[in-house]
């Protein structure tokens, strides 16, 4: 076969967005191929707008992480990217209606304990605009319900021991504090001031009977630092009381009554799915520049997922005989997303 290879991009004759691509409904591009034979057309998916708009938005039923709050929120945009969004509720606001803050993909609602309502939260979400508008209310909750701050888990030693009467609390409010345990055990070999140790959430206070005092124990609790600082003295006991060999042994005993209520997070949204937007491309040929015959119709199912991928269409009849035409026209007849297309013809000069 003689003749050089010619490659020619289709020229846009209608380009509503003026972006140099077939990107809006009814955009048209035409390529003149009358000086070529053995022609192959490349329809190029220059930009594949993944995640738009037929995917599922990520969502979060706040009732699964909060207590009173029962709103279901979802990402404003569909797609797996919404799973990067997190929601945090913190009871640290002085404002009755609370305050909603968005930092990147982190959404934090600051509420006033026992005052701010579910409706206040939903109103704040609905009022988000611009770059902050990353979540919306999918299913409203019980609007009049007020949000409650988390409560710290506690352990009163008075019912457990004869001489120890301190009331302890978890440093961090929430139901996780209910996992903390405390054991008092007597050992003749213990230091006079006793020794407080921790394995995960299990604390053990080893004391020397008739020597170690309640004050010694409270001092040991107060001296906890770093990862060990899970508990604190809420109400001091009778510091001068001396612990007895066996009467003050107990445990392991769980802290109790900790409740996260409506403080939680950061909790991620989940369940987002990507979905390709639908589009239709119609290719036609003409030999006189006026009358057009259908050549092919392409839609989103004809392209592999990703940008810069093409569909190749050889200009042949159903048996493979190459055809000659004057022009090939491509029309983007429908589009739901922000994909961009172009068309290139390649053939042999002649």
């Amino acid at each position: 076969m003689s003749g050089k290879i010619l490659t020619r991009d289709a020229t846009l004759t209608v380009n509503d967005a003026e972006d140099g691509f077939l990107s809006s409904a009814n955009d048209v591009a035409i390529v003149d191929v009358r000086d070529m034979h053995s022609i192959t057309l490349y329809v190029n998916h220059a930009t594949d707008d993944l995640g738009q708009p037929n995917g599922t938005p990520a969502s979060l039923d706040l009732n699964t992480v909060g207590d009173t709050i029962d709103t279901v929120v979802e990402a404003t945009e569909p797609g797996t990217a919404g799973e990067n969004i997190t929601v945090t509720f913190v009871a640290d606001s002085d404002e009755d209606e609370g305050e909603l803050a968005v930092a990147g993909t982190a959404v934090t609602f600051h509420f006033k304990d026992g005052v701010t309502t579910v409706s206040n939260f939903e109103d704040a979400v609905t009022a988000l605009t611009g770059d902050d508008d990353i979540i919306g209310v999918a299913t409203p909750g019980t609007g009049a319900s007020t949000l409650d701050a988390a409560v710290k888990a506690e352990l009163d030693l008075d019912p457990l021991a004869v001489n120890a009467d301190t009331v302890l609390e978890a440093v961090t409010a929430g139901d996780d504090g209910n996992n903390i345990t405390l054991t008092f055990v007597h050992s003749a070999g213990a230091p006079n001031a006793g020794s407080l140790t921790r394995v995960l959430t299990a604390f053990t206070f080893t004391y020397k009977g008739t020597v170690t005092t309640v004050q010694n124990f409270e001092d040991a609790v107060g001296a906890l630092t770093g990862d060990d600082a899970l508990i604190a003295v809420k109400t001091p006991g009778t510091g001068a009381n001396v612990l007895a060999d066996t009467d003050d042994e107990f445990g392991p005993s769980n802290f109790a009554n900790g409740d996260s209520n409506d403080e939680f997070g950061p909790e991620p949204l989940a369940g987002g799915t990507d979905g390709e937007g639908e589009f239709d491309l119609v290719l036609e040929t003409t030999i006189d520049g006026t009358n057009y015959a259908p050549l092919a119709t392409l839609d989103e199912t004809d392209f592999e997922e990703g940008s810069g991928l093409s569909v190749e269409i050889p200009l042949v009849n159903e048996y493979g005989m190459m055809k000659r035409v004057r022009e090939v026209k491509i029309t983007l007849t429908a589009i739901e997303d922000s994909s961009k297309f172009s068309m290139t013809a390649v053939g042999v000069e002649g």
Partner: protein
């Protein structure tokens, strides 16, 4: 491969004389000589979309005897003006077949539809 040639068929029968360049009435016919062409595409063109019509395409190697190529009705066209149906001349292996003439005859017309035929192909070796 030589250059591409486009040729419009010429009306040989014009019963209604709506337009001398189009077929609009029963038995209107157009013929085009394709002796010098290979890789032939035949475009049946719907110039005006109105009513029904049947277009019967035949080919001849001697100008006298005609073999069937295809038959299309108004319903085979996309709706609207300037819509075409493309037919090609090849065997079932994709080898181009040749002819001296292509003829199209309009029958079964109703309404005011108008049609033409145009062909395109590569100029065969030996022709300039």
């Amino acid at each position: 491969m030589q250059r591409m040639i486009v040729k419009a068929a010429t009306s040989t029968v014009e019963a209604a004389m709506v337009d001398v360049n189009t077929m609009a009435a029963d038995n209107d016919a157009q013929v085009v000589d394709v002796s010098e062409l290979s890789h032939i595409s035949i475009y049946l063109n719907q110039i005006v979309d109105d009513g029904n019509a049947t277009l019967t395409v035949t080919k001849s190697v001697d100008g006298t005897n005609f073999a069937p190529v295809s038959s299309k009705t108004q319903g085979d066209f996309a709706a609207g003006a300037n819509k075409s149906i493309e037919l090609t001349l090849s065997d079932a292996n994709g080898m181009p077949t040749h002819a001296k003439q292509i003829k199209v005859v309009l029958t079964g017309s109703s309404g005011n539809g108008e049609y033409t035929m145009t062909v395109a192909g590569s100029l065969r070796a030996g022709y300039r």
